[in-house]
Amino acid sequence: AADTVKVGLLRLTSHSPSIIAAGNGYFADEGIEVEFVPFQAAQPMAVAIASGDIDFGMTAISGGLVSLAQKGAVKVIGGALMETPDVEGQKILVSKAAHDGGVTTPADLAGQRFGVTTAGSSFHYMAHKIADGAGFDRADLRIVPLQKVPAVIAALKSGQIDAWSIVPNIADALTAGPEVVEIGKVADYIPGYQVTTVFTSTRNIENNRELVERFLAALAKGIDDYNAALVDKTMSEADTAALVKMVHEYIYNDQPLEKADPRIRAGAMRINPGARLNLESVEDQLAWFQSEKLVPADATIDELVDTSFVETD
């Protein structure tokens, strides 16, 4: 009988590979039956892995994830979304008011209000890396925690924060309007940034190593299809449309396919083939968490990552 595996899903296009792997039968080929469990936010997904409610998840590395890893509950096993020079990556945005006020390059961000969801989120990390790269003190950025992406959007649009950084499909939608202006790319400041990772529970790694391997193998095929269809656009239009339809079952499924189709295709970022992991980037992120005292100083990279499943660099 097939092993049943529960996979946490955020309703974002970056989660398409596992949907594609399921739709194209790659999981079935590995003898895995997949059940998708949708989440509204990344953090509960990590907790649900710790509690054993789901088996695999894919999100950015957050303070919460490190904390759970340190408690021995979860481990990062592979990489997913990554900033690469060849594909459009995350963008740095400012409000119209700030732009008019002279904030036209990331170097002008000193003294501005930068929106993040929570302290210790990837937004927080990006903000500080931008400060480092642009050459001003991290403390000169005023970090405004707003908990949720929509809250940050609302604050940016109404000019109550000055800057933010976000994935291209949301960034493009925002810059299409008059209230928000793009002033730079995150990739310029954090080269090789490993934005999201694949993780599972320590229990799975210890008791079911071979299942984890099979899962990653199937996922890798899904990733290849995804990159071919939406990032490199080397797949035929008919096959791409079929993939989009597959993805639409879970993502933007409250809108008719015609409306959802362009949104799914827009601004896809590359996902590392074979779930390759940029360990260097992860180490840098961990070091940042520790420097900001968001995780205990004694957390180690070995607690966080199991490097035995995928290639790392």
Binding site: P44, I54, P150, D254, P256
Partner: protein, 281 residues
């Protein structure tokens, strides 16, 4: 104003210096009771919607601040068309029904215990005061670990949310029951059970029903918190998703659904009140 209520001006009728002629005795009664005016509510709603729509169309209300009601209606139309409305609604309603009824029943039981037993009051009422103000959202990570990500944690969120206000409303109601009536029951040697079910519960019923109004609204509010965790369908999940996409039309459509549920629940409780409290006039 078509009420029996003596208006402020009419109240102080007939001062001592009144005309001495023959006149009808001024009406000074009524006890501030008023006639229901069922048509006012819908009119006010319609008026508000109209103003809002006009404000949106004329640009007084910026589309970032609030989408026009017609747009929200469009989003609602999409929901109906794709057949998702029913899915979201049924998921949320069944959670609501389950969570609210468990929370309310437990709340009434514990509230009665606090109202009736000195030990229970001393032990539980500080616990209630301590646990009530704990925000359910803060505990979501723990709820996942305790109750999983299935229906368990969602219903638990609603139960937690409705339990505490019901407890408080119930024991305040019990405290307000006329002690003389209880003494009467005791003097006739009524069983303890009879006194509780026939004297204390009916006496506390007005307070319990007013508590139910509040706890039902809280339960609806908590749908959002409950459906933050791994909910595929449900109005809360729909609103959260609309929010994360900054799709204000869908957001307002979802919020309007919650309002309508709130109105229906309030109407049902109003009916129950009229039926159960008919002795009150």
């Amino acid at each position: 104003m078509s009420t029996d209520l003596a208006s402020p001006a009419a109240q102080h009728a007939e001062p001592a210096t009144d005309l001495a002629g023959r006149r009808e005795v001024p009406f000074r009664g009524g006890g501030f009771r008023h006639r229901p005016m069922w048509y006012v509510g819908p009119v006010v709603f319609a008026g508000l919607l109209l103003l809002w729509e006009l404000g949106s169309r004329s640009g007084v209300i910026s589309p970032i601040a609030l989408p026009a009601p017609s747009e929200a209606l469009g989003a609602l139309g999409d929901l109906v068309e794709t057949g998702m409305l029913w899915r979201h609604l049924s998921a949320s309603l069944s959670r609501l029904a389950l969570g609210w009824s468990i929370g309310t029943c437990l709340g009434i039981l514990v509230g009665l215990a606090i109202g009736l037993f000195a030990v229970a009051r001393s032990a539980l009422s500080p616990l209630v005061s301590a646990f009530f103000p704990i925000p359910k959202i803060a505990l979501l990570p723990l709820f996942i670990i305790w109750f999983g990500i299935g229906e368990g944690s969602k219903v638990a969120t609603l139960v937690f949310g409705t339990f505490f206000p019901t407890v408080i409303a119930t024991y305040s109601g019990v405290d307000g029951v006329d002690r003389n009536l209880i003494r009467m029951g005791q003097s006739f040697g009524l069983k303890w059970r009879s006194i509780v079910t026939k004297i204390i519960l009916p006496g506390a019923l007005p307070a319990i029903l007013s508590g139910a109004r509040i706890s039902a609204s809280i339960a609806i509010i908590l749908l959002i918190a409950a459906e933050m965790i791994g909910a595929e369908y449900g109005l809360g999940a729909y609103i959260l998703m609309a929010g994360s996409l900054f799709a204000l039309d869908q957001l307002i459509a979802g919020v309007a659904m919650l309002s309508i549920i709130g109105l229906i629940v309030a109407w049902l409780i109003g009916r129950a009140e009229r039926k159960l409290l008919d002795w009150r006039l």
